[in-house]
C-alpha cells in the first residue's frame, strides 16, 4: 500500500460520517411546504414557484410568501404578530405558526428532524 493509498483511505473514512451527518442532521433543503389550518385539511405547496398564499383562519386572512425555496408569514390578523416577526423558514423541519389564527407552516424534507412537535 502506497502513501497515496493510505491518504485516500483516510479521506474516504472522513467523508463517510460527514455525508451521513449532512443527510440525517444537517440543514437539509425542504421538499415542500405543509400548511395546516383549523378549518381545512392540510395542504401541501411546492416551493419551486414564488408566490403569495392567502389562508383563512378563525381570526381572518393570513398571507404567506414563498420565495426562492423559503417561506414566511407576511401578515396575519393576530395581535402579537409573533408569526410575522419570526421571519423566513429555509430548511427542512422549519416550523412557524400563528396560533391565534390556528395556521402553521412546516417545511418538509425527506428526513424530518422531529417525529412530532409539542406546544
Amino acid at each position: 500500500m502506497t502513501r497515496a493509498d493510505r491518504i485516500l483511505i483516510l479521506l474516504v473514512l472522513c467523508a463517510m460520517p460527514l455525508v451521513y451527518y449532512h443527510l440525517w442532521f444537517g440543514n437539509e433543503p425542504a421538499n415542500y411546504l405543509l400548511i395546516r389550518s383549523s378549518d381545512n385539511a392540510p395542504v401541501t405547496e411546492t416551493l419551486r414557484s414564488d408566490r403569495m398564499l392567502h389562508i383563512t383562519g378563525p381570526l381572518g386572512e393570513s398571507i404567506v410568501e414563498i420565495n426562492n425555496g423559503r417561506t414566511r408569514f407576511v401578515s396575519s390578523p393576530c395581535i402579537g404578530q409573533v408569526c410575522v416577526h419570526s421571519g423566513w423558514l429555509s430548511s427542512a423541519g422549519g416550523f412557524s405558526a400563528c396560533l391565534p389564527n390556528r395556521i402553521s407552516l412546516t417545511l418538509v424534507g425527506q428526513h424530518p428532524r422531529f417525529d412530532a412537535v409539542n406546544f
Binding site: V19, Y20, G80, S86, F95, P100, Q110, D115, N118, F119
Partner: protein
C-alpha cells in the same frame, strides 16, 4: 491498488447517499380535526390498510367524545350542567361518568388549581367560544361574585352514577383535561388493535408508545415566545408530553394579554407563567397537571407537582427564566444558543 480504492470509496459514498435516499418511511400518518384542533396519528410498522382502518375508528371516537363532553353545545355534559345549576340530583351519562370521576380525583390532588367546575368563569371570559372577545373585559363585579361562590369539586358528590351538588355555581368545563383523556382512550384502542409503536398528537399535546424502529421518537418542544424549537426530548415506551401556554388562546386589551388559563382563586388569567411542560405516562394526568402547574406558577409548582405525582416539569416564567427539576433537565436537550436563565429546582422525588 489506487484504482481499486477509488472504486471502493465511490461505492461506499454511493451506498451512503443512496441508502438514505431510498429508505421508505415506515410511519403511517393521518390527520383529522376534533376538539377544535388538529389530531395527528403516526403509526410505525403497521400495514397501511390496517392503519387506515384503525385511524378511522379513532377519528370516530374523537368526534363522539367531543360531542358528549362539550360543555357548551347540546350533549351529555351541558345537560348535566343545567341540572346542577338548579341543584337537582342528576344521573350521569355513562359516556362521561369515568371522565368526571378522574377529573375530580386530579382536581383534589392539585388542591383545586386544576378546577374542572369553573365553567361559568370560563364563559364569563368568553374562552368557551370562538371567536374570542375583542377589546372588552368581563365585568369585575361578576368575576368577584363567581370567585366568592368558589365552586370546587368538593361541592359535588358522585354516588354510583348519581351526582348531587351543594353549589349552584358549579359548571363542568373539561377544557384543561378532556384532550388528554381522549388521547388515553385512543392509545387504548391502538393497543387493542395490536399497535405498539405510535404517536397521538392533539394540537401539540401528545402521547407516544413504543418507538420509531430502533430509535426513540424524537419530539421537539416549541419556544413559547420565539419561532422555532426550544428543546427536544427523546421519548419511548409510554410517554405523554403536554404543554400549557399563555399563547394558545388569548386576547389583548390596552396592550395587556388575557389568556385562557384562569386562576380559580382570583378569577383572572394566571399571571406569573408563560408555559409549563409536563411529562407523565398518562395523558389525562399530564393535561390536568400542566394546567395546575401553570396556575401554581414559579413559587408553588414544586409542591403541586409533588402532590400530583409528576416527576418531570419545565416551567417558563414571565421573565423568561426556565424552572426545571433535575430529572427533567436530564431528559431534555435545549437547542444551541439558548439565551434564557435556568433555575434548577430540588428533586421532585
Amino acid at each position: 491498488m489506487t484504482k481499486h480504492l477509488i472504486r471502493l470509496g465511490c461505492l461506499l459514498l454511493a451506498l451512503a447517499i443512496g441508502g438514505c435516499q431510498q429508505a421508505k418511511d415506515p410511519v403511517f400518518h393521518d390527520q383529522f380535526f376534533a376538539f377544535g384542533t388538529l389530531i395527528e396519528i403516526s403509526l410505525y410498522g403497521v400495514d397501511t390498510q390496517l392503519a387506515e382502518s384503525i385511524s378511522k375508528e379513532i377519528e370516530q371516537d374523537f368526534i363522539g367524545m367531543h360531542a358528549s363532553w362539550h360543555a357548551w353545545q347540546p350533549g351529555a355534559l351541558s345537560s348535566l350542567n343545567e341540572q346542577l345549576s338548579r341543584l337537582e340530583p342528576a344521573t350521569i351519562d355513562p359516556a362521561i361518568l369515568p371522565l368526571l370521576k378522574e377529573a375530580g380525583r386530579l382536581s383534589q390532588r392539585s388542591e383545586g388549581l386544576f378546577n374542572p367546575v369553573i365553567g361559568n368563569l370560563i364563559a364569563l371570559w368568553g374562552f368557551h367560544d370562538n371567536p374570542l372577545p375583542v377589546g372588552t373585559l368581563p365585568d369585575s363585579i361578576a368575576i368577584s361574585d363567581l370567585v366568592k361562590q368558589a365552586p370546587t369539586i368538593s361541592d359535588i358528590t358522585i354516588d354510583d352514577n348519581f351526582i348531587t351538588s351543594t353549589n349552584p355555581s358549579i359548571a363542568f368545563d373539561l377544557g384543561g383535561f378532556a384532550k388528554g383523556y381522549a388521547i388515553d382512550r385512543a392509545i387504548d384502542r391502538l393497543r387493542e388493535s395490536g399497535v405498539e409503536n405510535a404517536i397521538i398528537n392533539a394540537g401539540g399535546d401528545l402521547r407516544v408508545i413504543g418507538q420509531h424502529g430502533d430509535r426513540p421518537w424524537r419530539i421537539g418542544i416549541r419556544h413559547p415566545r420565539k419561532n422555532g424549537i426550544l428543546a427536544s426530548i427523546e421519548a419511548s415506551g409510554d410517554t405523554s408530553i403536554f404543554t400549557s401556554g399563555d399563547y394558545e388562546r388569548f386576547f389583548e386589551v390596552d396592550g395587556q394579554r388575557y389568556h385562557h388559563i384562569i386562576d380559580p382563586r382570583t378569577g383572572y388569567p394566571a399571571n406569573s407563567t408563560t408555559s409549563v411542560t409536563v411529562i407523565h405516562s398518562n395523558a389525562a394526568t399530564a393535561d390536568a397537571a400542566a394546567t395546575a402547574l401553570f396556575v401554581a406558577g414559579p413559587d408553588q409548582w414544586l409542591s403541586t407537582a409533588r402532590n400530583m405525582g409528576i416527576r418531570y416539569v419545565m416551567l417558563i416564567d414571565k421573565q423568561g427564566t426556565i424552572h426545571i427539576n433535575p430529572a427533567m433537565q436530564s431528559r431534555i436537550h435545549f437547542e444551541p444558543g439558548l439565551d434564557a436563565q435556568i433555575s434548577l429546582s430540588a428533586p421532585l422525588q
